[in-house]
C-alpha cells in the first residue's frame, strides 16, 4: 500500500468542508482551485491498486486505477471544473458543497475496487445530488427531491441485495466482471441497481423528473455524473451481457419519442440523456473491444456536450426564468452567444463531422454492424436522426427563433449570462470541437487499442445525408412539431399516483378501522379503567407529582435551548445528518490508514 496515494474524492470532500471558512474575497479563486487540483490529481494518476484498507473482515480498495477508471476519472474531474466555473457566481456555499460531494461520490465509485466502497460512494452520490434539486426552492422541488431519493434508495437496495448474494456465492467483495453467460439472481439484482442509475426504461422516469426541476447549475452537474458512473460500472461488470443490447436500443428510441412531445427544454435534454445513454448501454451489451471503447468514448464526449447543452438551456432559465418553449422565442437578439454555444452542443450530440459525437457514437454503431446486428445499427442511426431533430434543431429553433413572442417580462429580463457562465460554455464548446477534430487524444485514453477511423468519405457522406435530410424534414414538418403547453405522462405516473392511492387508503379505510377500534376500546375498556384510575389518582397526586414536576421543569429548560437550534426544516436537518455521516466516513478512512 502506498500511503502517499491521495484519493481525488478526499480533496473534494475536504475542499467542500472548508469552503464556509474561506473569506469572501478569496472564494472564487478557491472554488476554481479545488476542482483544478482534483483534475491535476486524476491526470497524474498511475495505474495500479492503491488505498487498500482492512476494516473488520473486509478488504476495501479505494483506488483501483486502470485504463477504464482513468478515462472516466479524467472526464468527471474535467466536468467538475466546468460545472463549478459555470455556477461560480452562486453565493450560497451549500450549493457548491453539495455539488462537490456529489462529484466525490462519483469519483469514489469509479476508483472503487470492491462492492462495499462502490455502494458507499453510490449512496453518497444520491444523497448529495438531491440537494441540487431542493435548492431550486420551488413549491414542487421538495416532493421532486423526495421522489428522486426514494427511487434511488430502491435502486441502492437492489444493488445491495445483489452484492450480498454475489459475495456469499464467491466469498469475495471484489467488484470485477460478472459471468454474463450464466447470470444468477445476484447478477440481475446488481444489474437492476446499475440500470436504475443509467435510467434504463422502465426505471428511467426519475431522470427527466429530477433534471427538469434542479437548479440551473445543479442540472449541469447531475446530467454528467449519475448516469455515466452507472455506464462505467456496467462497462466494468457487464460487458457482453446480451439483454443490454435491446434495452439500449429501446432507450435510444424511447428518449427520442418523448423529446418530440416535451415542451420544457431541460426535460427535453433529459430525455436525450436517456437516448444517448442507450447507445452506451447497447455498446456494453455488444461487449466487443470496439463496442466497449465506443461506450467509453461516447460517455466521455456525452458528458461534455450534454453539460454544454444544459449550460445553454440553464442560462436561458437563469436569465429569463423560463424553460418552456411555448414561453420563449426570438431570443437571438438578446442571447446570441448562448445560442451559438448551445448550437455547438447540439451539433456535437447529433454527431456532425468535426464535432465530438461523431468520433464516439459511430464506434458503437460500427461495432453493431461488425457483429452483424444490423437491426441494432439501423435503429441507432434512426435515433441519431431524432437526436439532431431535437437538440440540433428543435431546441435552438424554438428558443432563439420561431414565431413565438415571449411575454414582456421574459423578454425584458433576457440578456447574455454572466462572464463565468459564458466562459464555461466557451471552454466546453472548444473541447467538443477539439475532441471531434483531433481523434488520437481521446482514442489513446480508451481501455482497448483503437483500430478505427471515423473520417472516411463513406462515413462522412452517410452522416451528412442522414442529418441534413432530417433537417429538411424538420422544416417541412415544422407545423406538426410545434411545442404544445402540455406535460407528457411517463412511468412516474405509477408511483406519483400510487403514492396518492396510498394516502387515500391511509386516510379512509385505515382511518375508519382506527376509529372503530377506538370506539370498542372506549366502551369495553374505559369504565373499569376509570375506576382504577381514580384509585391511582390518589397515589399519584400525593407522591409522584412532586417528583415529576421537578423533572419536567428540567426537560423544559433543555427543550427551550434545543428549540433554538431546530427550525423544523427537513432539508437542513438531513443536510446536517449527511454532513456528520460524511465526516464520520472520512474519519474512519483516515483512522484505518494509520
Amino acid at each position: 500500500m502506498n500511503s502517499f496515494w491521495i484519493h481525488p474524492a478526499l480533496i473534494l470532500i475536504f475542499g467542500a468542508a472548508l469552503l464556509p471558512l474561506v473569506p469572501a474575497r478569496l472564494k472564487k479563486a478557491y472554488l476554481l482551485a479545488i476542482p483544478v487540483l482534483v483534475f491535476i490529481r486524476t491526470i497524474g494518476m498511475q495505474a495500479g491498486v492503491f488505498g487498500q484498507v482492512q476494516y473488520l473482515d473486509w478488504n476495501l480498495t479505494f483506488g483501483r486505477v486502470d485504463k477504464l477508471s482513468l478515462v472516466f476519472g479524467y472526464i468527471m474531474s474535467l466536468m467538475c471544473i466546468l460545472g463549478t466555473l459555470y455556477g461560480l457566481h452562486v453565493r450560497e456555499n451549500v450549493q457548491h458543497m453539495a455539488a462537490w460531494v456529489y462529484v466525490a461520490g462519483s469519483l469514489g465509485a469509479i476508483y472503487a475496487g470492491d462492492f462495499i466502497t462502490l455502494f458507499l460512494f453510490w449512496e453518497v452520490m444520491a444523497f448529495s445530488s438531491v440537494f441540487l434539486i431542493w435548492f431550486r426552492r420551488r413549491p414542487q422541488s421538495l416532493s421532486t427531491g423526495l421522489r428522486y431519493l426514494l427511487v434511488h434508495v430502491f435502486g441502492g437496495l437492489a444493488l445491495l441485495g445483489g452484492m450480498v448474494l454475489h459475495c456469499k456465492a464467491h466469498n469475495s467483495w471484489a467488484f470485477d466482471a460478472f459471468d454474463v453467460h450464466q447470470p444468477t439472481l445476484a447478477t440481475y439484482l446488481v444489474m437492476i441497481g446499475l440500470l436504475l442509475n443509467a435510467a434504463v426504461p422502465p426505471l428511467h422516469a426519475w431522470l427527466p423528473d429530477a433534471y427538469g426541476e434542479a437548479t440551473f447549475n445543479g442540472s449541469v452537474f447531475m446530467c454528467a455524473f449519475t448516469t455515466k458512473t452507472a455506464v462505467y460500472a456496467l462497462c466494468r461488470g457487464f460487458a457482453g451481457m446480451e439483454i443490454l443490447v435491446p434495452l439500449g436500443v429501446i432507450m435510444a428510441l424511447y428518449g427520442v419519442v418523448y423529446a418530440v412531445l416535451e415542451n420544457d427544454c431541460r426535460r427535453l435534454l433529459a430525455y436525450h440523456i436517456i437516448s444517448q445513454v442507450g447507445y452506451m448501454v447497447a455498446g456494453v451489451g455488444l461487449g466487443t473491444a470496439m463496442a466497449i471503447n465506443g461506450a467509453c468514448a461516447h460517455a466521455f464526449a456525452h458528458i461534455l456536450y450534454k453539460g454544454l447543452l444544459f449550460m445553454g438551456c440553464g442560462a436561458v432559465l437563469h436569465m429569463t426564468g423560463e424553460s418552456r418553449f411555448t414561453e420563449l422565442g426570438g431570443l437571438w437578439r438578446k442571447m446570441p452567444w448562448t445560442f451559438v454555444f448551445t448550437l455547438i452542443g447540439g451539433l456535437s450530440i447529433s454527431a456532425f463531422p468535426l464535432f465530438s459525437g461523431f468520433v464516439s457514437k459511430s464506434m458503437i454503431v460500427a461495432a453493431g454492424f461488425e457483429e452483424h446486428k444490423f437491426w441494432v445499427a439501423f435503429l441507432l442511426l434512426l435515433a441519431s436522426a431524432g437526436t439532431f431533430l431535437h437538440t440540433g434543431l428543435k431546441v435552438p429553433y424554438f428558443i432563439w427563433f420561431g414565431n413565438n413572442k415571449p411575454k414582456a417580462e421574459v423578454w425584458n429580463r433576457a440578456s447574455e449570462p454572466p462572464a463565468n457562465m459564458i466562459a464555461a460554455m466557451a471552454i466546453a464548446s472548444a473541447l467538443c470541437i477539439f475532441f471531434g477534430c483531433y481523434t488520437p487524444y481521446l482514442y489513446r485514453m480508451l481501455p482497448y487499442p483503437v483500430d478505427y477511423q471515423p473520417y472516411t468519405a463513406y462515413h462522412i457522406s452517410e452522416t451528412l445525408q442522414i442529418l441534413l435530410f432530417t433537417g429538411l424534414g424538420f422544416f417541412l414538418l415544422l407545423e406538426k412539431l410545434k411545442p404544445e403547453p402540455k406535460i407528457s405522462l411517463d412511468l412516474d405516473w405509477f408511483y406519483r399516483l400510487g403514492g396518492r392511492a396510498f394516502q387515500w387508503v391511509a386516510s379512509y379505510p385505515i382511518q375508519a378501522a382506527d376509529t372503530l377500534v377506538g370506539e370498542l376500546y372506549r366502551r369495553a375498556g374505559l369504565a373499569p379503567l376509570m375506576k382504577a384510575a381514580r384509585t391511582a389518582g390518589l397515589f399519584d397526586n400525593g407522591v409522584i407529582d412532586g417528583l415529576v414536576d421537578g423533572i419536567a421543569s428540567t426537560v423544559r429548560g433543555v427543550g427551550k435551548r434545543l428549540r433554538l437550534a431546530q427550525r423544523g426544516q427537513m432539508q437542513e436537518n438531513l443536510a446536517f445528518a449527511f454532513a456528520v455521516a460524511a465526516l464520520l466516513i472520512v474519519a474512519l478512512v483516515i483512522y484505518s490508514y494509520r
Partner: protein
C-alpha cells in the same frame, strides 16, 4: 453585439440561405451517387444511390408523426395534472 448583427444579416437573406441549403442537399446526393466509394458499406441496400438521404428524411418524418400520434393518445395532458 456583432454576432446579433450577423444573424440579422443572414435573416435578411433567408430566401438565398434556403436556396444554398437546398443546393447542398442536392450536392450531397450527387456526391453519394457518383463520387463516394461504397466499399465500406455494411449491407447491400446501402449501395442504392441516396439511400441515407431517404433514410434520414423518412426517419425524421416517422419519428415526428409516430411520436405525436402516441402523445395524442392521452400521454400528453394539461400542465397542472399532478397538482392537487
Amino acid at each position: 453585439m456583432k454576432l446579433a448583427l450577423f444573424i440579422e444579416f443572414l435573416r435578411a437573406r433567408i430566401k438565398l440561405l434556403i436556396r444554398v441549403c437546398l443546393g447542398v442537399l442536392a450536392l450531397l446526393i450527387v456526391a453519394d451517387a457518383v463520387l463516394v466509394d461504397k466499399e465500406h458499406a455494411h449491407t447491400t441496400i446501402e449501395h442504392l444511390p441516396a439511400f441515407w438521404s431517404v433514410f434520414g428524411f423518412l426517419g425524421c418524418a416517422v419519428i415526428i408523426l409516430a411520436s405525436k400520434w402516441f402523445g395524442h393518445t392521452g400521454i400528453m395532458t394539461r400542465e397542472d395534472y399532478y397538482d392537487e
